[in-house]
């Protein structure tokens, strides 16, 4: 049954540091590579060399800018690279909507997985996910999602330092951390506590396991607006019109016509 487990022994997940992510997309590529070559159906690209290529990915990097309020639309913005993948929610709506039981949340570690041989490709789980973490594979027609590299983290055939998700192993900035968020003493839980880690869209009630660490505030570069000060030189130093006017304007237009 695709009921959610009441509790999971562990809450394995990622902590993503928005302060250090440089937006290089290396995690996207290594994720695609590992999950194409290993567990489950390969992540297909359709029309890969054509005019409109479309591919399935389990991890995507968006870039946002955040502009402080009350400083006008031209105030300097903070640019934040924003990796997004499955958050392995405790209250995963994608699991309970599944009509076949293909979607499930593991009792032992809380990882949300898809049993691809049971998936009928109806797409309802992708509709139920607020984060866009699930994508239907264009070739295999089954739902693909982050497995937290379940075939790496317990894999005794690979060196111990590789037993983390591919995205974490590859991140050159050290912006991705993997661990048990159910254990308050784990390194990831301490990071979340120290840095004020937060949930995405808490109002959706999904209780994500993955946490995001906020970017540190930037030094304020915009001059504070000064009110009531008389500026004598200001009008003299104001920039001249960018478009030539008067005689110069006429000359400009006349030359333009030649």
């Amino acid at each position: 049954m695709t009921d959610l487990p009441d509790a999971t022994a562990k809450k394995l997940g990622l902590v993503i540091d928005l302060d250090t992510c440089v937006g290089c997309h290396a995690c996207v590529i290594s994720c695609k590579e590992w999950n194409t070559a290993n567990y489950g159906a390969p992540l297909a690209d359709v029309d890969a060399y054509g005019a409109a290529p479309v591919g399935s990915f389990l991890n995507r990097i968006h870039s946002f800018e955040a502009t402080p309020e009350g400083r006008g639309p031209d105030a300097p913005a903070a640019v934040v690279h924003f990796p997004k993948s499955c958050l392995h929610c405790e209250d995963a709506p994608c699991v309970t909507v599944c009509p076949t039981g293909a979607s499930y949340k593991r009792v032992e570690d809380g990882i949300v997985l898809v049993n691809e041989s049971d998936c009928i490709g109806c797409g309802l789980c992708a509709w139920a996910c607020p984060y866009g973490a699930r994508e239907m594979d264009g070739v295999e027609k089954v739902m693909k999602k982050c497995t937290l590299c379940v075939d790496r983290i317990y894999n005794e055939h690979i060196p111990e330092e590789d037993r983390v998700p591919a995205c974490v192993r590859t991140c050159p900035a050290g912006a991705r951390h993997f661990g048990d968020l159910g254990d308050p003493e784990s390194q990831v839980s301490r990071l979340v506590a120290e840095r004020g880690g937060f949930d995405l869209m808490p109002e959706q009630g999904t209780k994500p396991v993955n946490k995001y660490l906020p970017p540190r505030p930037k030094a304020d570069l915009a001059p504070p607006p000064e009110a009531g000060e008389i500026d004598v030189l200001g009008p003299l130093l104001a920039p001249v019109a960018e478009e030539p006017r008067g005689f110069l304007g006429w000359l400009d237009r006349a030359l333009e016509k030649l």
Partner: protein
């Protein structure tokens, strides 16, 4: 959301079919013999065609039987189970009316309840989704049930009931649109909550994650022109509810008038169902600078 033809046909036709079957199960109209056969053939035909259309939406229709297993948690699974249960329970009822001119009333009522429950679970597939605020509201099941009841009454030649239900349908349809237009804002999901960067300030997508499109954008981020939507709403409202009601009242009872009312209603029903999907905004659009 992408208005997939398979889903529009599935919800529209199965709604009409189960609506008609519910009326027949309750004994309206009290037909027997070959007339009963014709009515049930239409009901089973519409419901079956709708269910068949839904399999075209599946990536692996050959595994569709697995969808009957998760009725405890999934509305989609419940819909599958209930639809088959309704069709199975009404089969002997229809058979006895047709061959023995006997009405097995208890079976009919049970079938009618199951047919209504089927339509309700179809609507809950959409209404349960918190990610689509426009659907996540009681007007969604009310709308689906009224479409089925009114359309079914029309097909079952229940003129007075149909006219009244069409008027009610138009009212709920307007309510669904009016409240639906505000519900995304009321849901509280914004680019700021989606990224958690509201702590810094106003959030705007600077660069999308990929150059082309992807499954998420094709499936869940669909934008309808405002004027286009207004025109379609007018068609859906007039053709779907008001015009059939007027036709039923104004025209003399008979096959020709009823057929005209059915055709007009179908036009409105399909327009309304297209809008139901096309106008529904998914919160994932917030990650793409769109709604």
């Amino acid at each position: 959301m992408h208005p997939a033809p398979s889903l529009i046909f599935f919800t529209a036709l199965s709604g009409l079919g189960f609506g008609l079957l519910a009326w027949l199960g309750l004994g309206y109209p009290g037909v027997t013999s070959w007339t009963a056969f014709a009515f049930f053939a239409l009901g089973y035909g519409l419901a079956g065609a709708g269910l068949l259309a839904s399999t075209f939406h599946l990536g692996h229709p050959e595994r569709a039987l697995k969808a009957f297993t998760q009725w405890r948690s999934s509305w989609l699974s419940r819909e599958a189970v209930l639809s088959v249960a309704a069709l199975v329970v009404l089969a002997p009822y229809a058979l006895w009316l047709w061959l023995f001119e006997t009405r097995l009333a208890a079976l009919g009522v049970a079938g009618a309840v199951l047919a209504a429950a089927t339509v309700f679970s179809t609507s809950m597939i959409y209404a349960q989704l918190r990610t689509v605020p426009r659907w996540h509201h009681w007007t969604t099941p009310a709308l689906f049930l009224l479409y089925a009841a009114a359309g079914g009454a029309l097909l079952a030649a229940q003129i007075v009931a149909a006219a009244l239900l069409f008027v009610a349908l138009a009212g709920v349809q307007i309510l669904h649109w009016q409240t639906g237009d505000r519900r995304f804002r009321q849901s509280g999901s914004t680019p700021e909550t989606a990224t958690g960067l509201g702590r810094i300030g106003r959030v705007r997508l600077l660069e999308p994650p990929h150059t082309g499109t992807n499954y998420l954008l094709r499936e869940m981020v669909h934008q309808v022109g405002r004027r286009h939507a207004q025109r379609l709403r007018m068609i859906a409202l007039v053709a779907g509810g008001l015009a059939p009601a007027l036709l039923l009242i104004a025209l003399p009872a008979g096959h020709a008038g009823a057929a005209l009312a059915v055709l007009v209603h179908l036009v409105g029903l399909f327009a309304a169902r297209w809008l139901f999907f096309a106008e529904a905004e998914h919160v994932v659009g917030l990650y793409y600078g769109r709604r």
